[in-house]
C-alpha cells in the first residue's frame, strides 16, 4: 500500500510508509480509491497530436483524451489528466500516482511484466517516412541508414528487432537500420527530418495518423513503402497495484463503447486522410 502525500506532514507520512512497506495490496483497492475520490487519474502524452495534446485553452484534447473522458464518464467519475514522459509510463510502478494509461499503448511481453492490458480499443498501422527530397524509394533503401523513433516505443523495438507484441498480426522486419536515434517523442524526430534528407536522420518510423497530421501541417515528408506493421492499442493499468476489479470494469466499458460505435465515431472524428475522408481504426486486422 502506498500513501499520497504533500510535503507538509512528510515525516509522519514517511514513518507510516515505512511501517506499511510489507503490507500487500488488496484486490479492488485502486478502483475503490477512484470511486471514493470521484476522480480517474489518466496518464497520457501531451505532445502527440492528434491523439493527445494541449489546446489553446490549456486543456487536453485528442482521440485518446476523448476515449479517456468517456471511460471516466461511464465509471461515473471525473477525468483528470497527468502528463509524465512516455518512458516513465511504460516502466510501470506507478504507485497510484495515476490510475490508468489511455495513451495508445501496444501490449508487449516486456511491458506486460509490469503492466496489465485490460482492453484493446483500436488498431493503427505504423509506417516509415522520409524527407520529400530523399533519394530513398523503397524500404530496403533504408537498410544501414539512421532512423529516428520515440524512446521506449514499439517503433524503436521494431528497429531493434525485438518487438514482442501480444495478440498482434504477424509482421516481418523489413528494415535493418545502421543507427537508431531515439528521441523523447515523434515530433522531436520530425523536426530533425524536416532539416533535410540525411542531415540528422534518414527517416522516421511512427504511427500513420501522426505522420499524416505532420504532412497536413506542411512538413516536407512522405510515406515510404507499405505499412511496416499493425499494432493493437490498449488501455494499461499498473501490475504493481494489481486490481482485477478495475481491469474488469475497463474491459466492460471498452466492449460497450465498441458495440455502441462510440469508438468508431471518435476514430472518424480524429483520424482524417489527406483527401478529407475519415478512418475507422477500431476494426481488428
Amino acid at each position: 500500500m502506498s500513501i499520497k502525500l504533500g510535503f507538509t506532514n512528510s515525516s509522519i507520512a514517511f514513518a507510516v510508509a515505512l511501517l506499511s512497506l510489507n503490507m500487500t495490496v488488496q484486490a479492488g483497492v485502486v478502483y475503490d480509491y477512484i470511486k471514493s475520490n470521484n476522480e480517474l487519474m489518466i496518464a497520457t502524452d501531451a505532445n502527440w497530436a492528434p491523439y493527445s495534446y494541449i489546446n489553446d485553452a490549456g486543456e487536453m484534447e485528442g482521440f485518446d483524451v476523448d476515449v479517456a473522458k468517456e471511460i471516466a464518464k461511464r465509471m461515473g467519475v471525473e477525468a483528470r489528466f497527468i502528463t509524465p514522459s512516455w518512458d516513465i509510463i511504460t516502466s510501470g510502478n506507478w504507485n497510484m500516482r495515476w490510475d490508468v494509461s489511455v495513451g495508445s499503448m501496444t501490449p508487449t511481453e516486456t511491458r506486460s511484466e509490469v503492466l496489465n492490458f485490460p482492453a484493446v480499443y483500436y488498431y493503427t498501422p505504423a509506417a516509415f517516412a522520409v524527407h520529400t527530397d530523399s533519394p530513398v524509394t523503397t524500404l530496403a533503401g533504408l537498410n544501414g541508414k539512421n532512423i529516428c523513433s520515440t524512446t521506449a516505443s514499439t517503433w524503436e523495438m521494431y528497429l531493434q528487432g525485438n518487438l514482442d507484441m501480444l495478440d498482434a498480426p504477424a509482421f516481418k522486419y523489413r528494415v535493418t537500420p545502421g543507427t537508431i536515434t531515439s528521441l523523447v517523442d515523434g515530433s522531436a524526430c520530425l523536426d530533425d527530418t524536416r532539416l533535410g534528407a540525411g542531415i540528422r536522420n534518414d527517416g522516421i518510423i511512427d504511427s500513420v495518423p501522426f505522420i499524416q497530421n505532420a504532412i497536413e501541417n506542411g512538413y516536407p515528408i512522405r510515406f515510404l513503402g507499405e505499412n511496416a506493421f499493425f499494432e493493437p492499442l490498449s488501455v494499461a493499468t499498473d501490475k504493481g497495484n494489481d486490481d482485477p476489479e478495475l481491469d474488469a470494469e475497463i474491459a466492460r466499458i471498452i466492449a460497450q463503447m465498441k458495440s455502441d460505435y462510440t469508438l468508431t465515431t471518435l476514430s472518424m472524428k480524429w483520424f482524417k486522410n489527406a483527401d478529407g475522408s475519415s478512418n475507422d481504426y477500431t476494426n481488428s486486422y
Partner: protein, 321 residues
Amino acid sequence: MFVDTVIEDKSLHKPAFLLGLSVAVLIFFFAFNFTDTVFGELLSPVIGNPKESGFFGRLVVSFVLSAIFVLNLFAISFARLRVQIFIVWIELFLLFLAFAFSFDLKFSFIQSKIGLMVSKGLFTTIYISAVSIVIATAIAIVGAIAKLSNNGFAYAIASFYTSLFRGLPLLLQVYLIYKGLPQLGFMVDAIPSGIAALSLCYGAYMTEIFRAGIQSIPKGQWEASRALGFRFSLILRKIILPQAIPIIVPPTGNQFIAMLKDSSLVSVLGIWELMYMAKTLGQRDFRHMEMLLTAAMIYWGLTIILEMIQARIERKYQQKT
C-alpha cells in the same frame, strides 16, 4: 575594480591597430560568405545578381560589412562610457532580434499561446523556484553551521550531504527522487519531487557558500566576542552573520538565478511549467521555434529582474560596511 590613473590613448585611435582590426574583420567576413544574404541583395546595384557575382561580389560584400563594423566601433569610441555601454547593448540586442526573426516566426501564433504560457507555465515556474529557494536557504544555514561545528556527527552528515548532492547531476536527482522514493513506499507527486530535488541540490551548493562566508570572518572576531562573555548563538547572530552576509549575498543571488533556470529540468516529470509548455504548445501546429523563443524571452526577463534585485541588495550591504 581598480581605477587606473595612467591614461593611455585608446587603441581604437591608433592607425596601426585600426588597420589590423580592419584586415582581421575583412578576413572574417570573407571567410563566411554573406553574398547570399540580405546584404548581397542590398548591394546588388554594385555587384549585380548576388548568385552570379562570384569572387568580386564576395569581396565587395565583406569589404562593406567590415567597413561598417570598424566605423561603428570608431564612432562609438568617442562617446562617453555610459553612452558606449548603452549603444553596444542596443546593437547586440538588435543582432539577437535579427537572429530570432530569421526563423520566419508566426506572431499571431505566439499571441494566441502567450496567455496560457504566462498563466500556467510562468506561474508554475515561479511557484516551484520560490518554494525551492526558501527551502534551500534553510537547508544551507543548517548545513553551514553543521559543517563548521566540532560535532563529529553533524559534520559527517553535512559533508556527506554536500558531497553527494553536489556530485550528482540535477536531472539524475530529479529522476531518483521521483522514481526511487515510491519504491520505498514513500509516495511523492511530481511537483513535490521536483521541489525536493531542486532544494536538496541547491541547498548543497549554498551550504558551501554560507560556510565559506562565515569562515572568511577573522578568528579574532570570535575570540574577542568570547572574551566579552557572549554565548555562541548570540555571537553567530549578532556579530558573525552580519559581517558574513555581504560576502554571501552575491554568490547566493547567482544561485537563485541558476535555480530559476534549472527549474526547467523538472519538465521531464510532466509538470506544466514554462519549459514544458514551450515544448508542448507548439506541437499541434508544428510551430516549436515560436514557443521556444517565447520561453527564452520570458526566462531572460525574469533573470534580468532578479539581477536588478540582487544589485540593489548588494548596494545596501556595501553602504553599511
